[in-house]
Symmetry: C2
Subunit: 199 residues, 2 copies
């Protein structure tokens, strides 16, 4: 299958999940919403630059990271089931404080402010969908943050295993440790303890 | 001033901050958006119950907490500048996993699903405003979560002092410690270290 057709199929599939969109609207939307296909290793966003696009992951894995005292620290993973990549830097057009890198070959919806405005004007139902996605994302991250505050490092890892099954066998322990706010050595100790207590 | 008039004045003030609303629309919205005035100590939401309202703080302070192994743990503070109180439990009508208590006499916008639908139908511009608020909240909490992951307990406390000036002299150290995911003893040690290093 041609890459472009494959990309449009993924977009069609994604839009079909919204009950408020009929087939005709989806077909029209697929024509105007841009999908890009960055390959593994592509740097989508660079610390210090003003983002001119926001993304939604249709397929693949994007890692968000920043440097703290010269050390690379992972702050988010985006995949098909945790897809919305946006930030205050995109919304307010200020320099990004993080980087985004594709960890796999990806298919991404790539939005930009001008095009989004035109598309929303032509398809007001898009506003509804964006609203739903924002509300969903906000609720998810609020829960994640509360549970992060409340949990011990071991519980954070157990919750990660339970809630981020989309990342199974896709990310290194090194990046997981960073994402859970611990050193790789701490994560290794926690994993050993879990294995030995389940034997 | 009568309590009801005072409440409506706060609502008018709040709505005036949105450039997309003209004075006539604001006056009409003030008539249909309910504002409640719960007193200090009021329990707004109780763990295990399905929330029938969501809130926005026009004035006052609301604390979110839950019990972990029988211990009360604070997971959020809502004030005039961090006002949106919503959750997946309200959106999906499932039992709440947290409690909400007023720490001061409050003025709150109280939304409910049916009324919100009617108001949005009559004032479509409301959708725009809700969208803006959601996006703003989402960006804020994403940043907060990233910075929480990346920071040491001491840095978390310093960031809290810098970013949550709205809470100055309004919340106890006990609740702040809990909110920062540390024991009151750890917070006390950190505060002593900051004082002694600045002398």
């Amino acid at each position: 299958m041609l890459e472009a057709t494959k990309a449009k199929n993924y977009l069609f599939q994604f839009l079909s999940e919204f009950p408020s969109l009929d087939n005709h609207t989806i077909t029209e939307l697929v024509k105007v919403i841009p999908v890009i296909a960055p390959t593994k290793g592509t740097l989508l966003m660079k610390e210090g630059l003003i983002p001119n696009e926001c993304y939604f992951v249709l397929k693949g894995l994007v890692r968000q990271f920043q440097f703290v005292d010269g050390v690379e620290r992972t702050t988010e993973f985006y995949t098909e089931s945790h897809g919305t990549i946006s930030s205050t830097h995109y919304t307010n057009q200020t320099p990004s404080n993080f980087n985004l890198v594709c960890m796999e070959d990806c298919l991404l919806i790539a939005g930009n402010i001008e095009l989004d405005e035109i598309n929303i004007k032509n398809f007001p139902v898009l506003k509804e969908i964006i609203n739903q996605m924002l509300e969903n994302d906000l609720n998810l991250i609020k829960e994640k943050h509360s549970s992060f505050i409340l949990s011990s490092p071991k519980d954070r890892y157990l919750q990660f295993l339970e809630k981020r099954t989309d990342l199974l066998n896709r990310v290194s322990l090194h990046h997981i440790a960073s994402y859970l706010g611990m050193t790789p050595e701490s994560l290794s100790r926690i994993r050993k303890r879990i294995v030995s207590s389940s034997n």
